[in-house]
Symmetry: C2
Subunit: 254 residues, 2 copies
């Protein structure tokens, strides 16, 4: 390829995460790489942006076709900073991850990794989030490689439709193939670990259990549980279009 | 009404915001009120949750039909805390706001107020976010009152369909009526104010300009600019269903 693609990479597990390093190593075969990743762990930060306090950017490594920055900010801050202050042109592709832990189903709404992907999508950049259903810091990402390659080649060659991005989730261990899915309906049954402090103060630590209420084999969580890599096309339009006419008759006549 | 509804209220502008106080004063006519609102300003915190550090809850005021708590956490933390540790049953209604500033269009994806509403929706609670297109701390919310009353009465009497919530945005000044809308397509053209520090460090302060690319009068931002209160039915399913079949033929055959 005469002009190598410009590929931007970020994540939410932070600059030193193994999943990020693995994704960089794959992407180096496809283009010139710029990484801007959070200095610290930013899981669960969703589409959070930093307003009213400054962002600090550090260039950690510069090679011929690889620049690696860390940012004291959120994943979406990383995208905004890269697109506006770091890259000398908009990238041909944004990839985020590989996330340590699933971003299938309802998890996507909490995920900083998927928020970065949706931010790319809002800016009309082909954007893909990759996640592995294993949250260990030393998770084995090697068996995801050939699927990441296939998806990346398809998107670099043919693009993605305007206004959509991809949420890709890999099961642990064996992968049977890829399945295009919808976001599984589910909820978290939260709990809080309670800690009573000496001064009479109570501290609450968030925890919880995931419950999938979606029985469809086309639901991303179920496909992943059945050893498929799930691919969900996502958009940043939260409108529930099917309900517009129904609620119009209720509310416009009040 | 024999059994008064239980109404949960939160926001992202923080516990002391004028918009929150105004919303509480309206809701007291309709039910028993529990407020859990962030201790500090949490605008732009989206669906961020606090994991790995504790949440501190403070009861600030307790009257017969009104309990007011503040939480050192995000708006979504407030919802999770309330539903799991504060309320003795799930509420009949969740309302958030009144936000100081518009959450129409792409703003909804960054908003902590709308994230709280979507969290309520994910938990199957009828949930409504109210925002005014005026971000001043002393904004005048009085002319929104009759519309908030109409919407609240409709939802308390007839509920909302499963899996949808409402994003309501008010224009400044005169309101012509209510319009049911879709989320306007738009983007932020970010910029960063750059500050060079003595030690050679560079600090970046996020700012930007909003651009609406949606010409439809049914787009929420445009309705608001035309002096209507916009109402968008939203859901927490980010799947772009129209693209599932199209991308299936690409990706399942790779």
């Amino acid at each position: 390829m005469a002009n190598r693609p410009l590929i931007f990479i970020t994540n939410d597990d932070g600059y030193n995460a193994k999943g990020l390093k693995h994704l960089i190593s794959i992407m180096q075969d496809y283009g010139d790489i710029v990484v801007v990743a959070p200095q610290k762990q930013m899981s669960g930060k969703s589409h959070s942006i930093t307003v009213g306090s400054p962002l600090k950017l550090t260039l950690n490594n510069e090679e011929q076709s690889l620049q690696e920055y860390s940012l004291e900010g959120t994943p979406v801050d990383c995208v905004k900073m890269a697109f506006n202050k770091v890259l000398n042109r908009l990238p041909d592709l944004l990839v985020a991850g590989i996330n340590h832990g699933s971003n299938a189903s309802i998890n996507t709404i909490y995920s900083g990794t998927m928020a970065a992907v949706m931010e790319g999508c809002a800016e009309n950049i082909p954007s893909i989030g990759f996640s592995l259903n294993d949250d260990k810091s030393d998770a084995d990402f090697s068996f995801c490689t050939k699927y990441i390659r296939s998806i990346t080649e398809e998107v670099l060659n043919n693009g993605l439709d305007k206004n959509i991005c991809l949420n890709v989730n890999f099961p642990q261990g064996q992968i049977e193939g890829m399945k295009v899915c919808h976001q599984a309906e589910a909820y978290w049954d939260e709990d809080f670990d309670v800690e009573e402090k000496d001064e009479g103060k109570t501290f609450y630590w968030l925890s919880g259990t995931y419950h999938c209420t979606d029985k469809s084999p086309q639901a991303d969580y179920n496909a992943m549980m059945n050893h498929y890599a799930s691919i969900v096309p996502m958009h940043v339009d939260f409108t529930a279009y099917n309900f517009i006419d129904k609620i119009r008759t209720k509310f416009e006549t009040l």
